[in-house]
């Protein structure tokens, strides 16, 4: 065990930590938007779009993340030349987004369905439009229901960013494995890496508790 190596590796990882964090943040934000859009399409039973979305969800849930990233980064640009110069980081955000939105869509859809039919009827019966009902009554309540599961998806995305190194994005996993393979200090490198992921996720768990508490206002007797 080399403590010095561990600390050096940690230092190097912290330097690229913003890459991991921004990959996470961008992918999560984009997949949330995409998931809500697909769930709403599903909820209002929009013809054609609904079927297209169903195929997308099924395909991205039915295939692993690494081939998805490879297809996006190496595969598609062989047909479309203009996509060849897109940086690996961007492709990685796209891949993570498409992958996790397919899962999050079901979470969002379930939470939309959890809002009582009666409240929607009450909104309509008092002259609100279906869109107003969705944004002012249904979505706020669905958010509360969806948050615990969405944090699960967020945790998955954090760990999913570790796949970015397969297409050459230098983030914390890439840094750890590069240093490990040069110095053969595999144990220290990966242990420090895993502890770092763990800390990130512990912080997210604390955040989740705070958010859930906030959203519970009005629901406790």
């Amino acid at each position: 065990m080399s403590l010095e190596f561990s600390l050096n590796t940690l230092g190097a990882m912290l330097k690229v930590l913003p890459v991991t964090l921004s990959l996470t943040a961008l992918s999560f934000a984009a997949s949330l938007v995409l998931a809500i859009a697909i769930a709403v399409i599903d909820y209002f039973r929009v013809p054609v779009l609904r079927q297209v979305c169903a195929v997308y969800v099924s395909f991205f849930r039915g295939t692993p993340l690494i081939p998805q990233l490879f297809l996006l980064y190496f595969g598609i640009p062989t047909f479309i030349a203009s996509l060849r110069d897109i940086p690996a980081f961007t492709v990685c955000v796209a891949g993570l987004t498409l992958n996790s939105a397919a899962y999050m869509k079901e979470v969002v859809r379930g939470s939309l369905l959890s809002v009582s039919e009666g409240q929607k009827e009450a909104a309509l019966a008092h002259g609100m439009t279906p869109v107003q009902t969705m944004f002012r009554i249904v979505l706020p309540q669905a958010t509360r229901v969806a948050v615990p599961s969405l944090f699960n998806n967020l945790v998955d995305i954090v760990k999913g960013t570790s796949m970015a190194f397969t297409i050459g994005v230098i983030e914390i996993t890439a840094t750890a494995s590069l240093r490990a393979s040069v110095t053969f200090n595999y144990f220290e490198a990966y242990m420090v890496l895993m502890l770092l992921y763990w800390v990130i996720i512990l912080i997210l768990e604390r955040l989740e508790a705070v958010v859930e508490k906030r959203l519970a206002v009005g629901y406790n007797r």
Binding site: A122, A125, H126, I137, G218
Partner: protein
């Protein structure tokens, strides 16, 4: 008040047609729930719709704001007419703006507090500014007695309170008609009365209302017209008293007989404690006690006992316990005539004696015109000169001697 009188809902031009339904049909799959309903309702009219479950009452109401899509027919509310099968989204939305519905399960928005529940339709459907919406919301919440709970969320309210907020939410949008879909069916008996009280007030102010209800007594009391539905058709309609007391149709008679049988035995009442002596006055007067509607509370009032019909929540009897001049007094005990002879008076009094013991009363005094009833419960008549200076006159709020009842005492 200004706002109410400006809206279309108040009885300014009573007699003008407000709602017209022509040949309304509705199927659920192969089941025909509405088989051609024709109905006209005037501005300011209160209409009660009665009938067994599954006869299409609620469906009729829900077709009127397109929560159910009718298959055939025309619906006119105010100046808007919608023809089934040809209604555009815009027309449906317009139609919905002309009415407001009060649901059996209240359906308050659980993500919003009381104030914002009422404000929401004003802001999003009526495009009001926030401060105006708030002013109007508070005004209507005052009318239903909920203005003190503005920041509470629905989950913290009783069923009765939730329904009162729901009524305020509907009234605040100032619709042409209020649609009540069994407003008290989901309530515990103790909360029914406060909701009916609010609806009674609306009826007196001649809001145009259609009330689907199972409460015949209430229908008789508030409705101008009663409609009896059976098998998806209007079987009989007419002035409330006429339909409920002298129905012409055999099926109406049959239905009223069945629904009447369920109530009015000793197990179908509850006793609720309150301080609402004033609210009990109409019942006391009805039951023959010498009160005037604006009499003050009895001196030293401790607690009122309201006896409620479990099914309708109607006040059918009651009494009060007071403490004045160091004596515990039972005042003004009454049970409505229709409910007499079922041991309810005894039940009420036993309950009141139990309560007096909890207040550590050593003895109880009352005045009675019919001492026989109280003798059975252990009270004895005492000579006037031995009595403390209490009134034996049910209509005097102040205690004094001098009226023509017996004074009775029970040692506890």
């Amino acid at each position: 008040m200004k706002n109410v009188s400006q809206s279309g809902i108040i009885d300014r031009q009573r007699g003008r047609q407000m709602i017209k339904i022509q040949n309304l049909h509705k199927h659920f799959g192969s089941l025909e729930v509405l088989k051609g309903i024709d109905l006209e309702i005037e501005k300011g009219e209160v209409v009660a719709v009665i009938g067994s479950s599954g006869t299409g009452k609620s469906t009729l109401l829900r077709c009127m704001n397109y929560l159910e899509t009718p298959d055939e027919g025309r619906i006119t509310i105010g100046e808007i007419t919608v023809t089934a099968g040809k209604a555009s989204k815009k027309e449906i939305h317009e139609l919905r703006k002309h009415s407001a519905m009060i649901f059996q399960n209240f359906n308050l928005f659980s993500n919003k507090d009381v104030l914002h529940n009422v404000m929401e339709p004003l802001i999003s459907a009526k495009k009001m500014k926030k401060d105006e919406a708030e002013r109007i919301a508070v005004q209507y919440l005052e009318k239903v007695g909920m203005a003190k709970k503005l920041t509470q969320y629905p989950v913290t309210l009783s069923g009765g309170q939730q329904q009162r907020v729901a009524i305020a939410r509907s009234m605040a949008t100032e619709p042409n008609v209020l649609l009540f879909d069994e407003p008290t069916s989901a309530l515990d008996p103790e909360w029914v009365q406060e909701v009916l009280e609010v609806i009674r007030k609306l009826a007196r102010a001649h809001f145009t209302m259609i009330i689907v209800t199972h409460e015949m007594q209430f229908a008789k009391e508030v409705a101008d017209r009663v409609i009896f539905m059976d098998g998806g058709r209007i079987v009989e309609e007419g002035p409330a008293k006429e339909v409920l007391e002298n129905p012409k149709e055999e099926r109406t008679r049959e239905f009223l007989k069945i629904s009447g049988r369920k109530s009015a035995d000793g197990e179908s009442v509850v006793i609720k404690k309150s301080r609402n002596f004033k609210d009990m006055l109409p019942m006391f007067i009805e039951a023959g006690l010498e009160f005037k509607p604006d009499d003050p509370d009895p001196e030293g009032l401790l607690v009122c006992f309201e006896m409620l019909d479990k099914e309708s929540g109607r006040r059918i009897g009651g009494g009060s316990l007071a403490k004045a001049y160091g004596e515990f007094l039972i005042r003004s005990v009454a049970v409505e005539e229709a409910y007499q002879g079922k041991g309810l008076g005894k039940k009420l009094l036993e309950y009141m004696i139990g309560e007096a013991k909890e207040w550590d009363a050593k003895r109880l005094l009352l005045t009675a015109k019919v001492p026989g009833f109280y003798k059975k419960l252990g009270f004895e008549v005492i000579p006037r000169e031995d009595a403390p200076p209490i009134s034996d006159c049910t209509s005097c709020p102040r205690f004094h001697n001098g009226c023509d009842s017996e004074i009775m005492r029970l040692e506890l």
